[in-house]
């Protein structure tokens, strides 16, 4: 069966859709109106990435928020973590980011944050959606309607200040790292040069840092699309290269040889850098590499695992009072001392800090990590067959330790595989990992075959 295309999705973090036919100004306005009604009359922070459809949707969101009696704090083009941090720091009622993150340019989305700058949790979200469905909006009168106030520039400064409290600024500044950056012409296009060059005194070689231009590559910073950055690293002799997604929450890292590092490895390096400064518990999702456990063991701290999804990891970090956490595949580092959000700026700062402390190259740093091999992939299935599929898989591998918190994770001492269904499509996502490449590949294939047999 052909998997259905989701041109409009009301989901975990807000609504996302193809702009025009599906994500319309009336939908965005209604959601803004519902959001304003839910959070109450007061300031609401709104920012966006650089998509062409951003200003249109932002106006629609403003219209809804103003109609609900909220004061709109417009911070313009800003990375998602910056919006979250600013929402919290000015004690706004909530925040809205207009960005479809790593999705391609025809998509856009509204991401909703509460007063703490956190993604709406399940309860908040369902209450909001109920309000929306009932069109039960607060209708402010002429006297109650407030204005749009622009706070340009302040939000990035607050974000950068918070991050830089946790690294040796002077050390990094005087080391004058040579760094290449691919900003994908996204929301980080202006802030990242300021961060790396202005604040951290790096010798910067930027490409794709023009927020007025369209995305020059696939916006998700996968290794296959980072050819320009790897070439730039090699040509300029940069010690490290960073690639953003359009809203600056994900980060891809290229070492000085032009190799794109594995996202899980980037997380492990950031975790190690954080624990070196101060140890504490670590929270990651079930699909994240076991190298995390090895690193945590060195510092004698526990690792807690949550279902996949930023909201789940954030909740886990909060309840475990963790020092750091994140999700490997999403390329996101969450460092609660800055904010409970996925933040590429914290990741960049920690990596530069590690290079400084260890006095080695990026490739040496990556190679010093515990070595695991991963095999990732997807398998489609028919709607309604998921339960039996998972049960058969359990029966097929009776010797494995089983974790059912999010789909099915089968764990052996030397290997594991995680099988979970996508939230948006009839797809199973598979991730297998082992110390030995052959073992990882074999495990992946066994499970793939088992799924094919049952289907």
């Amino acid at each position: 069966m052909k998997s259905r295309e989701h041109l409009l999705k009301v989901g975990v973090s807000g609504i996302r859709g193809v702009v025009g036919e599906f994500l319309t100004p009336s939908l965005a306005c209604a959601l803004g109106h519902a959001f304003g009604t839910y959070v109450g009359r007061g300031p609401v922070v709104v920012g966006r990435d650089t998509r062409r459809t951003g200003p249109m949707l932002q106006s629609a969101v403003h219209c809804g928020l103003l109609a609900a009696g909220c004061q709109v704090i417009d911070i313009g083009i800003a990375p998602t973590p910056t919006i979250q941090i600013y929402t919290q720091s000015i004690r706004a009622r909530g925040g809205i980011a207009i960005t479809a993150s790593h999705n391609t340019a025809e998509y856009n989305a509204l991401k909703l944050f509460n007063a703490a700058g956190l993604f709406f949790n399940n309860y908040e979200r369902s209450e909001l959606i109920d309000l929306w469905h009932q069109s039960d909006f607060y209708q402010a009168t002429n006297r109650e309607i407030q204005t749009v106030t622009q706070h340009l520039g302040r939000a990035p400064a607050i974000h950068m200040d918070r991050v830089l409290k946790h690294v040796d600024i002077e050390g990094i500044r005087s080391r004058r790292f040579r760094v290449a950056v691919d900003g994908v012409n996204g929301a980080s296009s202006l802030m990242t040069p300021e961060f790396l060059s202005g604040r951290l005194n790096c010798e910067l070689h930027p490409i794709n840092c023009d927020p007025t231009q369209p995305f020059p590559r696939d916006p998700e910073p996968r290794p296959e699309v980072l050819g320009d950055l790897t070439r730039l690293v090699c040509e300029t002799g940069a010690e490290v290269g960073f690639a953003h997604d359009p809203d600056g929450d994900r980060l891809a890292v290229v070492d000085e040889t032009g190799r794109v590092l594995d996202n899980d490895d980037v997380l492990v390096m950031a975790v190690r850098a954080a624990l070196e400064r101060e140890p504490g518990p670590v929270v990651v999702n079930l699909t994240t590499t076991a190298a995390i456990d090895d690193v945590a063991r060195q510092f004698g701290v526990p690792v807690y695992r949550t279902p996949v999804g930023e909201a789940n990891v954030v909740e886990g970090i909060a309840s475990a009072r963790a020092r750091i956490g994140g999700e490997g595949t999403g390329g996101g580092v969450i460092f609660p001392a800055v904010h409970l959000c996925r933040d590429s700026y914290t990741a960049m700062a920690f990596l530069l800090q590690s290079l400084l402390t260890k006095g080695c190259s990026m490739s040496q740093l990556a190679d010093s990590l515990p070595r695991y091999f991963r095999h990732l992939g997807k398998v489609t299935y028919r709607h309604g067959t998921l339960g039996p599929l998972m049960q058969r898989l359990e029966q097929r591998f009776p010797d494995a330790e089983i974790d059912r918190t999010d789909g099915l994770k089968l764990v052996w001492p030397d290997r594991w595989i995680h099988v979970r269904s996508s939230n948006t499509e009839p797809l199973l996502r598979l991730a297998a990992e082992a110390k030995d490449e052959q073992v990882a590949n074999d495990l992946y294939r066994q499970v793939q075959d088992a799924l094919a047999d049952s289907a």
Partner: protein, 455 residues
């Protein structure tokens, strides 16, 4: 049921009490209909009056127009005539004026203009309404979503156009008092003072979003109690009072005598008819017969159309522009021969000042020498559903006169007339009578008591 309407959607646009009647969703949908209706032959211009709710409505209008792929030029706070001039000058596809003109601050409205800054014809307005009701909007793909930018200097360009028509040097010495009613006339007149060396004395100048200094409607009371008493103490040569939108205007003479807004059209006819080849004056059935007297004096013809801007606009379209001298209403809103697309109170005021300057006469001297007309106006609640029966019985009773059934019933005698019609905007019967020499009390009172008793 509440008395009074909260929302009205009609050929003249969208109008309502913000929150209770007019909501963000209406704004988005109606503007989307307009964005769908307009052919993208040029940019679309928007402007608003200073009402607080204007900033909410502006965001919705902007979102909808951008989503329909239009390039939007935003004039910010500007009067409707400035917007119309800018549409004309910039060869725009059309425009939207956000503002509720003479209504109190709780109201707001959208008014729509086509190419050349003209009002929509009835056919166009009906098409717009059909698109709105059908709700099939032409939102474009993500790559062609429009962009917005401010349009600066619209005010100065407008003043330059006025300066090319009126002799500013001749009228500059006049000492003119203006009550701006906290509306869009204030920045225009302030700019005339600063940029063109006028010395208008402005009261109620400050732009206010949540309430006006007094009733924004121009009535005998506002003229007599707000404007006229200030003339003598301030030693002004003449006084004007604008509505919030500055398309309607009333006057007071140098001796502090209030001149009803009915005076504007006859006065301008007196000024322009002798100078023009065109001899046609278009007005409505409820406007003073002083217009006929003035027209007769200068060989002009008066065409009377049903009450309401729409009928006048359709009438304008059926004549060649060079045939039309003036179009106007008893409200003081007049379309001058130099700008045959806009009812503009500022231009009317400048014409009156030019007349005073070139004839070297005071306003009271200018209005001397005409027959004295006495007008009585009343509105009664609409209690009958048999309006046609009521009107035909009235026609029989008023047998001696010449009857006109184009808009309700109007009966004319050589020295008096009476007009009985049902309002298009409220459930009331409006009765207006006028007589030369003495008040038309007998006629007026007998018709009023008939209408009251008719069930």
């Amino acid at each position: 049921m509440r008395s009074g309407k909260l929302l009205r959607i009609s050929q003249v646009g969208l109008r309502g009490i913000v929150g209770e009647g007019l909501t963000a969703a209406h704004v988005i949908d109606f503007s989307s209909a307009f964005g769908t209706f307009l052919e993208p032959t040029g940019p679309v211009l928007i402007a608003r009056d200073p009402r607080t709710s204007g900033c909410m409505i502006r965001e919705g209008v902007l979102a909808a127009l951008l989503a329909c792929g239009h390039r939007v030029l935003d004039l910010g706070i500007a009067s409707t005539p400035i917007l119309q001039h800018a549409i004309h000058r910039n060869k725009a596809a059309g425009g939207i004026s956000i503002g509720a003109s003479h209504n109190v601050a709780e109201w707001n409205a959208l008014k729509f203009f086509g190419q050349g800054g003209t009002y929509l014809s009835t056919a166009e307005a009906n098409e717009l309404l059909d698109i709105y009701h059908l709700r099939k909007f032409r939102y474009c793909g993500f790559e062609s979503v429009g962009k917005a930018e401010p349009l600066p200097n619209a005010l100065d360009s407008y003043l330059d156009e006025l300066a090319s028509v009126f002799d500013f040097d001749a009228i500059r010495p006049l000492r003119v008092l203006v009550d701006c009613c906290n509306g869009t006339s204030a920045p225009i007149l302030r700019r005339l003072n600063d940029r063109h060396g006028f010395s208008f004395i402005l009261i109620n100048e400050r732009a206010q979003g949540s309430g006006f200094a007094h009733d924004p409607l121009i009535t005998a009371e506002t003229l007599e109690f707000q404007l006229a008493p200030l003339i003598k103490p301030l030693k002004a040569d003449v006084g004007f009072l604008f509505d919030v939108d500055s398309d309607r205007v009333g006057m007071a003479t140098e001796s502090g005598q209030a001149l009803s807004e009915e005076w504007m059209l006859p006065l301008l006819a007196e000024y322009f008819l002798p100078k023009l080849e065109a001899k046609l004056v278009i007005t409505n059935l409820s406007t003073t017969m002083l217009v006929d007297e003035v027209a007769q004096r200068h060989g002009g013809t008066v065409l009377r159309v049903p009450v309401g801007r729409q009928a006048a606009i359709d009438a304008l379209a059926t004549y060649r522009p060079e045939q039309i001298a003036l179009a106007g209403e008893g409200t003081g809103a007049v379309m001058l021969p130099q700008f045959r697309f806009v009812y503009d109170g500022i231009a009317s005021m400048l014409a009156v000042l030019s007349m005073m300057a070139t004839r070297k006469q005071t306003l009271s001297e200018l209005v001397r020498g005409y027959s004295e007309y006495h007008m009585r106006k009343a509105q009664l609640p609409l209690t009958t559903t048999r309006v046609p029966a009521m009107l035909s019985e009235l026609r029989a009773r008023l047998g001696g006169g010449r009857a006109n059934l184009v808009d309700g019933l109007r009966v004319d005698w050589p020295d008096r007339w009476i007009h009985i019609r049902v309002s298009q905007t409220e459930p009331v019967v409006r009765v207006i009578a006028e007589q030369r020499g003495a008040p038309p009390d007998e006629l007026f009172d007998s018709v009023l008591s008939f209408v009251r008793s008719f069930a």
